[in-house]
């Protein structure tokens, strides 16, 4: 029987990092996610697995430390919350542009600006559309439980290395702070120098040996046609990710006439909304995207013919709804309910809003 431990979502990130053989964490304190680094410091993994844990002087420095570590073929990560992630966006663009694998955790808080420390989902645009400059995407995983926070660290690294692209765990303050039972997974050792050489010698900066040309990690191109060819290569990569890595779950959608789409903590609250509707004989179902990029377009598209309405429920002013509207493409009305600033709605509040949309 696997061990289950009661822990916060933020703590789960830290334990999972050590457990899955992460080589380095570089971070900066910011509410509501400072427990990630605090837990790592308490665990002292440098004494057990040799993992490097370093508090940087800023988020800007953190993401650039991640960049340097990623250049070396190492499993490296950082975590922050909304304003800090904004600071990291330059670095994330560079990581994507240099085709480097890494994991970034965003425990979202209310914005814009300094905002609040209470939870939000206001960084959906930023995270799923890139966030920094240029045409790139992040692989985005949306946890809805402390277990997800734990499991998505290993999954995030797998996907990041599979595609040589940044992966982002887009949690919200609720998931980061709530305490739940988390089942621990079998530990993975940190990769040895030989394993890294085998996996990454074609691109990583691990020391130019006589058997190969020097590796350069850069995102710079002086000629426009070179840069275009690189962008086309990136787009092919994203198409591959969209074809292969979609993850989502459904709740009572088989006979649904109305659909709620919600991610993260909102997906759990909306399960109760489905129950409230069903009690009144309304055939409501829920689709929870687990990957926000790639987005479960085909899954929603397949449901459209049977639906009379879709509602996007988010802790923001309406971001994911735009993606759903694109999928619906005018076939079915797509409505919205959301709260901002950290005001988390109750199932009853959402249900009332839903009823209004179908009257």
């Amino acid at each position: 029987m696997a061990e289950k431990i009661l822990m916060k979502g933020n703590e789960a990130i830290a334990y999972a990092a050590i457990n899955c053989g992460c080589d380095g964490y570089f971070g900066y304190p910011i509410t509501p996610q400072s427990e990630v680094m605090e837990t790592l410091m308490k665990e002292k993994p440098w004494e057990t697995t040799g993992m490097v844990v370093l508090q940087a002087e800023s988020e800007t420095s953190s993401i650039n430390m991640v960049y340097g570590g990623a250049c070396c073929g190492k499993k490296v990560m950082t975590s922050s919350s909304s304003p800090g992630i904004s600071l990291m966006c330059e670095g994330i663009s560079y990581l994507a542009g240099a085709e480097l694998p890494c994991l970034v955790v965003n425990v979202m808080r209310g914005g814009p600006g300094l905002g609040t420390i209470q939870p939000s989902q206001g960084d959906y645009f930023q995270t799923t559309k890139g966030g920094g400059h240029g045409d790139y995407r992040n692989i985005v995983l949306a946890p809805a439980s402390a277990q997800d926070m734990y499991d998505f660290v290993d999954l995030g690294f797998e996907l990041a290395f599979k595609y040589r692209n940044p992966a982002i765990i887009l949690g919200d303050g609720v998931i980061g702070q709530m305490m739940e039972k988390v089942e621990l997974r079998p530990a993975k050792a940190r990769r040895t120098d030989e394993e890294i050489k085998k996996l990454c010698a074609s691109w990583a900066t691990i020391g130019k040996t006589a058997d190969r040309k020097a590796n350069t990690i850069t995102s710079l191109a002086l000629e426009a046609d070179v840069q275009e060819r690189f962008n086309i290569k990136l787009q092919k990569k994203y198409a591959e990710i969209e074809a292969n890595e979609v993850r989502y779950s459904t709740y009572k959608t088989e006979d649904a006439e109305h659909l709620i789409v919600a991610f993260g903590c909102m997906s759990r609250i909306c399960e109760n909304v489905v129950e409230l509707a069903r009690e009144q004989g309304i055939k409501l179902g829920l689709l929870r995207p687990i990957t926000l990029f790639p987005y479960p377009k085909a899954a929603i598209d397949a449901l459209v013919p049977q639906l009379k309405s879709i509602m996007s429920v988010e802790l923001n002013a309406g971001q994911m709804i735009e993606d759903i509207r694109l999928i619906s493409n005018g076939r079915v009305p797509v409505n919205f309910y959301g709260r901002q600033g950290g005001m988390v709605p109750s199932p009853e509040e959402i249900f009332e809003a839903f009823i209004k949309t179908i009257k």
Partner: protein, 253 residues
């Protein structure tokens, strides 16, 4: 004696190091970058550490350093090289890790990163090319630009009340406990080149002795930015920059 008798392989006393790739340097004629690149390449060759050295290039004219020195390179965002170097050295402590940064990169946008990497005493080498100007972007003022110096953004000469004072960042860095070797050199004549080579060699050796950060500033010229030809630019540097940025070791633990 006929010249044919002198030019024989056995008589060769100095040539281009194989650690410099075949690519033609894009730098302007007389640019100090080329000389410093050459020095670093010779050191890596002499120490036999090509397979164990990681260079980190900045944004600036020398962003393309990776085209010239035949080692693995990481190209960093503007000012961020010390952060990359921090992670690289901590994750691969058996490698020689150095950053190569200009004055706009290190002393302007990258001030936080260099201060904190040095404050943490990262076991890296920092090569700081100070020519008092942003070269790549067309000759604008940098924090190390001298008072009265004319640049693209100080067309009437730098004024203290508008732009503050030239930043002696190396002196600030020398005060940090985490640094073990802080020195200021130049490359405008053979004696200076040899001193710089000694300094950078010492810095490389330090980085494996867990003594902290070695910081080598090379006061340099920017012929295009200053709009002075190379030989005269070296003279201008000696007459104007050396008095303000004096050469020599500030710290050597």
């Amino acid at each position: 004696m006929d010249i044919k008798d002198i030019i024989k392989p056995e008589n060769k006393v100095y040539g281009k190091t194989p650690l410099l790739k075949d690519a033609i340097l894009h730098y302007c004629p007389g640019c100090s970058h080329g000389t410093v690149h050459k020095i670093i390449a010779e050191i890596i060759e002499e120490m036999g550490i090509q397979d164990r050295t990681i260079g980190i290039s900045p944004v600036g004219c020398s962003v393309f350093a990776y085209n010239y020195l035949d080692i693995d390179w990481q190209q960093a965002a503007h000012g961020r090289a010390p952060a990359l170097a921090t992670a690289t050295k901590r994750l691969m402590p058996d490698k020689y890790v150095f950053t190569y940064q200009g004055d706009g990169d290190l002393a302007s946008i990258g001030t936080a990163e260099i201060m904190h990497a040095c404050n943490r005493g990262e076991n890296i080498v920092v090569i700081f090319i100070n020519n008092a100007i942003y070269g790549m972007t067309g000759g604008q003022m940098v924090p190390t630009t001298l008072l009265g110096q004319v640049t693209a953004t100080t067309p009437y000469g730098r004024q203290a009340d508008l732009n503050g004072y030239p930043l002696k960042i190396t002196e600030l860095i020398a005060q940090l406990e985490g640094t073990c070797y802080v020195t200021r050199q130049s490359v405008q004549n053979p004696a200076a080149v040899r001193k710089t080579k000694k300094a950078i060699r010492k810095a490389f050796e330090n980085s494996m002795m867990k003594k902290g950060t070695s910081f080598v500033e090379v006061v340099s010229t920017c012929n295009s930015g200053w709009k002075i030809p190379p030989v005269q630019a070296n003279k201008w540097m000696e007459e104007n920059m050396f008095p303000f940025y004096p050469l020599g070791d500030m710290k050597d633990r």
